[in-house]
């Protein structure tokens, strides 16, 4: 029996290398758990039928000594990342039967490294949501408490990992879609620097905000996946060049111990228990030798408002390609206009329709300057403010989410209250800096707490450093 609960990527790699178990045995162990748990949890929309064949193929890499640290490591892949010839539906009926015609760059690289794809995971439709309840393929339940949501939008990937239905998982984070489910499921989740990981072959929600983001059971697992995925890709024009990557790392401080806390952002609107846990975490960090400083981010409080203008604007533009003509769901209609309107009505769910309409509004004549352009300018202010702050501190620390995992069915009828779950996530996406969610304890009801560190552009290394340290003092 493989101890899946405590297995890490490095340990799995060593065991595969030493022949303690094979790629097939490891994959099979996860398939067994999936078979047992997935009918209730609904983490996977589809479990691939060729997993064991993949495993046998990858086993050869150990024989030929061409293995990498990811060879034979099972991955759960969010349903908006393209894998050639496999269905990719973005949790939407409009793409229910869509088969990808090419591999996302990160998938191409993972295939080369020998990773195994167990299946595609459930998500809020087109990544629009914070609870994985807007998927066209049903809700996903939190394995820690199945009456509660796993967070979202990458809730399927989080639930798969937290439920021992995979060893590694990928999501995408546009405004907390990996960090919030990490918090609700007790995992580590990293939103990388914008442009660190290729977006080629990812179904876009908000192009200026989206990043493919790894989940892990520990900071080291996330670091391994990130180090592997983080590469310049000429197919993605927003990919960070090698030159810039190097120069960002050269600005290293020798002793990165200064943590800034913007207390003014969470004086209110946050659960008492979350607040208490945050203070305890801060004490632990202080004892471990970190210096805690009060910082002010006067514009950060506008982050979520800015996000809810820029994101729908990008959504309405991006999703105009789904028209029922070239691929995906197509409704019967009298004429072209009729086909567009009916396909988009039947194919998209309620939240997606709502955001497209909102985006159309903020981009329409008469409102474009007041909403969209204004939001872009405030975004610049937020970004400048954060970059200036990182001249004084190494980290910015906040809770990851203001609350713990809520009950299934909650918040669906109140969009603003749902959106507020991501209040601490927005600044990192708007400014492009990396942020990591780290488990920070358990509530009296057994729910998970989480804290979030941000660092300056390109400094994921600092986030892993503090993440690994925090695990030892927790």
């Amino acid at each position: 029996m493989i101890d899946l609960k405590n297995l890490t990527i490095e340990e799995a790699h060593e065991s595969l290398k030493r022949g303690e178990f094979t790629c097939r045995e490891l994959a099979n162990a996860y398939l067994k758990v999936i078979k047992e748990k997935n009918p209730e949890i609904n983490a996977y929309i589809e479990v691939y039928d060729d997993v064991l064949d993949q495993a046998d193929e990858m086993q050869k890499k150990f024989v030929s000594k061409t293995d990498t640290i990811l060879t034979g490591i099972p991955f759960a892949i969010k349903d908006n990342i393209l894998i050639k010839e496999r269905i990719v539906s973005a949790g939407s009926k409009i793409l229910e039967n869509y088969k990808a015609s090419y591999d996302a760059t990160i998938i191409k690289n993972l295939k080369k490294a020998g990773a195994i794809f167990l299946g595609r995971t459930n998500m809020d439709e087109f990544a629009m949501g914070s609870s994985t309840q807007t998927s066209a393929f049903g809700v996903t339940k939190n394995p820690i408490d199945t009456t509660r949501v796993p967070g979202g939008s990458s809730g399927g990937s989080a639930a798969a990992l937290a439920g021992d239905m995979t060893l590694a998982a990928l999501g995408t984070d546009t405004c907390g879609s990996v960090r919030e489910p990490s918090a609700f499921c007790g995992l580590v989740g990293l939103k990388p620097t914008y442009g660190a990981v290729s977006r080629q072959g990812i179904i876009a929600m908000g192009n200026s905000l989206d990043q493919v983001s790894p989940f892990g059971k520990c900071a080291r697992d996330v670091e391994i996946i990130f180090d592997f995925l983080s590469n310049y890709d000429e197919e993605d024009s927003t990919s960070v060049s090698d030159e810039l990557r190097d120069s960002r790392l050269k600005n290293q401080n020798s002793n990165s111990k200064k943590i800034g806390v913007p207390w003014h952002l969470f004086k209110e609107g946050i659960d008492t228990e979350v607040q208490e846990n945050f203070k305890e975490s801060l004490d632990k960090l202080k004892k471990a030798g970190y210096e805690i400083l009060d910082i002010e981010l006067p514009h950060a409080k506008y982050s979520l408002a800015v996000y809810y203008i820029i994101m729908p604007a990008e959504v309405s533009t991006n999703l105009s390609r789904f028209d029922g003509i070239r691929y995906g769901y197509s409704a019967e209609g009298e004429n072209l206009m009729d086909i567009y309107k009916k396909s988009r009505h039947n194919g998209f769910g309620k939240e997606v329709r709502r955001r497209i309409i909102l985006g159309t509004y903020v981009l329409s004549h008469g409102y474009y300057d007041a909403y969209y352009i204004k939001a872009l300018k405030v975004r610049e202010k937020i970004k400048t403010e954060i970059m200036e702050t990182f001249k004084k501190v190494d980290y910015i620390l906040t809770p990851t989410v203001p609350i713990t995992a809520f009950k299934l069915g909650e918040k669906l009828d109140d969009p603003v209250s749902m959106y507020l779950c991501d209040i601490f996530s927005a600044p990192a996406n708007l400014s492009g800096v990396p942020a990591i969610a780290l488990p920070s304890g358990v509530s009296k009801d057994g729910l998970k707490f989480s804290i979030q560190f941000m660092a300056s552009h390109g400094r994921e290394d600092l986030l892993f450093e503090v993440g690994k340290k925090f695990e030892t003092i927790m």
Binding site: K99, R326, P415
Partner: protein, 98 residues
């Protein structure tokens, strides 16, 4: 905002909406716009963003272009064609345009 505005937006966005949903979207839009309106309070410079002016700062965004020359791609033509909702002889078939 009123129902007519929602209908106009739905038309621009090429989405059919039922009567109930129009009302629901109207009320959701009002609460969301009420929330995002807070950015009105922020003072920002009048300068243009990214594009064409001489007041750029270090965070301004630039366009990244590539040479316009053909490169080898690994898109599968068959896979693309097989997903057309309607096709004839390998061509995408659409309703009459004019």
């Amino acid at each position: 905002m009123n129902i007519k505005d929602v209908e106009n937006l739905a038309n621009l966005a090429r989405i059919e909406l039922g009567e109930d949903e129009k009302k629901e979207i109207l009320s959701d839009m009002e609460s969301i716009l009420e929330y995002v309106k807070q950015i009105e309070k922020v003072e920002v410079p009048a300068r243009q963003l990214a594009g064409g002016d001489d007041t750029k700062n270090e965070h301004d965004l630039i366009n990244v272009w590539r040479e316009d020359k053909p490169v080898q791609r690994d898109f599968s033509r068959d896979l693309i064609i097989s997903q057309f909702p309607d096709s004839k002889d390998g061509f995408l078939k659409v309703k009459k345009i004019l």
